[in-house]
Symmetry: C2
Subunit: 468 residues, 2 copies
Amino acid sequence: MNHNLRLGDERRDVLQATFDTVTQVWEGFDKARESEPELTAATAALLAETLPEQGMIHTDALGQAVDVLDQSLAQSRPRFLAYIGSSGLEIGAVADFLAASYDINLAVDARAASTLEVQTSKWLGEFIGFPNARGLFTSGGTVSNITALAAARHRAVPESREMGNTGPMAVYVSSEAHYSNKRAVELLGLGTRAVRSIAIDEQHRMVPAALEEQIRADMAAGVKPMCIIASAGTTLTGAIDPLREIARIAQTYNIWMHVDGAYGAPAAGTDVARDLFDGIELADSVTIDAHKWLFVPKACSIVLVKDYAALAATFGHNEAYMPHEGEEPNPVDVTLEYSRPLRALKLWLGFKAHGASEFRSAITKNIELAQETYSRASVNASFRVLHHRPQLSIVPLQHIPHGMTDPEQISKHNAALCSAIEKDGRVFLSPAVIDGETWLRPCFTNFRTELSDVDVLFEVIEDLGNKR
Amino acid sequence: MNHNLRLGDERRDVLQATFDTVTQVWEGFDKARESEPELTAATAALLAETLPEQGMIHTDALGQAVDVLDQSLAQSRPRFLAYIGSSGLEIGAVADFLAASYDINLAVDARAASTLEVQTSKWLGEFIGFPNARGLFTSGGTVSNITALAAARHRAVPESREMGNTGPMAVYVSSEAHYSNKRAVELLGLGTRAVRSIAIDEQHRMVPAALEEQIRADMAAGVKPMCIIASAGTTLTGAIDPLREIARIAQTYNIWMHVDGAYGAPAAGTDVARDLFDGIELADSVTIDAHKWLFVPKACSIVLVKDYAALAATFGHNEAYMPHEGEEPNPVDVTLEYSRPLRALKLWLGFKAHGASEFRSAITKNIELAQETYSRASVNASFRVLHHRPQLSIVPLQHIPHGMTDPEQISKHNAALCSAIEKDGRVFLSPAVIDGETWLRPCFTNFRTELSDVDVLFEVIEDLGNKR
């Protein structure tokens, strides 16, 4: 059975088994399953084994892998509403298979594949209305945000590459911005003391006047404003900061403006949500996770920038073993990562096979499901909703048992209910703490989720909520 | 043709086409192709198209993707000797297909898949001789190194998460350490001034006495030693720093010791190279890129750590929408990234299907090819080699045209030759600048490379080198 790490004479069997498995898996995802299976004793034993020194029949190994996957929480399933995640676009999974086989590295020029990456990032700019930008694929929203922040620091303090953080700097985010932004600031050696949490309005959007006031105060105190991070779709409620007003402030004070649109930015490509993103084209950089609301398998994030030279100034170097030809910097000179898989292929093939129109439709459908969820909950006495309709596709809900009025008790009830829902397994939700209270937080970012799944969502919440 | 982003009634056709394509691709990789094709006009036109609004027959789209891939430089091909990269392990590509379909997120507990990640990192620790460690998969060596450095900073200056870099710190690397380590130090806001390039010996290994001297000088000057990064397989020559001696120094001065074994560490699992890694088990953390010398498709890096709690202290937080149950931190609390694909599956399935023994054999074979290359070049008057045999599988070579003796002229000749080899396309090499001189730098990290490819390597170098 030793084939020198090739599948050898088992190639045909393994590919046939893969073909059959994936067909079944995709058919299984067409409808939700009624519950999540427990970990079997056999799988538990399998996952406790020590390193196997000898191989086994490859199709048997494949079968074991599938058992593990089936006993895991997969975001591809239609009732996984817990996080803003991807949903394993079928043609995207095929693309990952191809990309993995060729295993191209986009660190230096890899010929056609390098051009494909550039093209796909342009397509994404066209899709969201951020034209004439260059983009680079990264391993995730955190790395995209870090890339943008590093460029912002370099613009604010050019000597920082050599000298480090030489004085106090500040980064401005809304008080509900994603934690990864704070983590990025920590990583950059600025400390959380550099984070300015700007007040939000009743729709959870950054208040521009508060932003401007803080910037003036910092400048007066000798603190250098480094970057304004506007959220275009917060993780908690899907709020979109007022981008045009923030851009005006960024220009007034000459501060790098980054839009963290990891989750929300693709909605800018739809008729129903486009207006919410007015002004996004004025940003210096935008993060979009195609592995969130463009449905392709993770990881597939993109950072789009206006000033490509700013990235080269931040990351460029002359490595002794990297060929540098011509004027154009290698990707390795403008990004954080060295080994760069062909992440763009899954989005490229998705746009090719389905057309941008199907993506717009699927995003619009998610927004409609969120609106429907909000509408149903808002007329149901067993539920409390936020005062405003969802801007995108996240719908915080509280289940209110009959007669319960104490906010603290309601929070505890919803936290316990969320755990019960997770154990039940018909739908999967995560909790959200908003203004100190615990909410349930269904997120619609899966192209497989249907109206019938919303029915089940309400059934499960009421069923388990009223039992407690 | 609108299937709501599913393949719908084209599923069977797409899977059959994928099956046929991958079979041909793998058969194509069994032997090298004799030249690299030029970009065709059709592909160039394809890659200049704007965003397609409507979809197309899916198998046609797939065909276009394969055309692009075939006109790209793929590391999977047997004569791609340019960088220490992966080679698209066949069963690993299958695993990526499955993982992409399920699209599990390992940020929080995903049940069986989460256990599989833990198990695979333990296997890797067993394989390289770094036992009783916990590991986490990351998107690449740079992110793994950054993760370790962030933990090292937190240990050296615990208040840095809040306060940032409050005073001067120093990071110690050999003068030939991978540039990603310097980039990581820059990113962390320390500036390159914090990097201490420690002298190397004639085998390009860090000199422990020079390290200790520098640490003492820094401490005397009020600079806080933050981390020693030992290279276990440098990118330029494959040198392995003396790990046991460095560990003794790290312990003496209570400094975090990180081993950057991104490329080389898997060789610690072989009989022929194990002794070179003596002392690796004493490190605080180790980076291993399974997408380098464990052959799986990129990206699949692992950072192994002794003190898991140090990661939690560095990255842990209480995010409002993440369920935290029990004592065990979620992966999102101990790593940089939030969205975490199931990268472990390809390595798990590789070990399952082939057994650790086949990996050991393939690594050993790469080392033998490197030794053979060194031997042949050292007895051939047209070549110059380094004074010592390769420690791992990188073999710097200079082609010396008859009668050429001026080092500067020889460097220029080899730089031009490297470009000519790249254009020729029979083999793919990258240059290396070592001690100011330009060398050719064949790297053997591909399980598909055979002795016959070494024959071609010499043919091509002599053929093109003597023409110039």
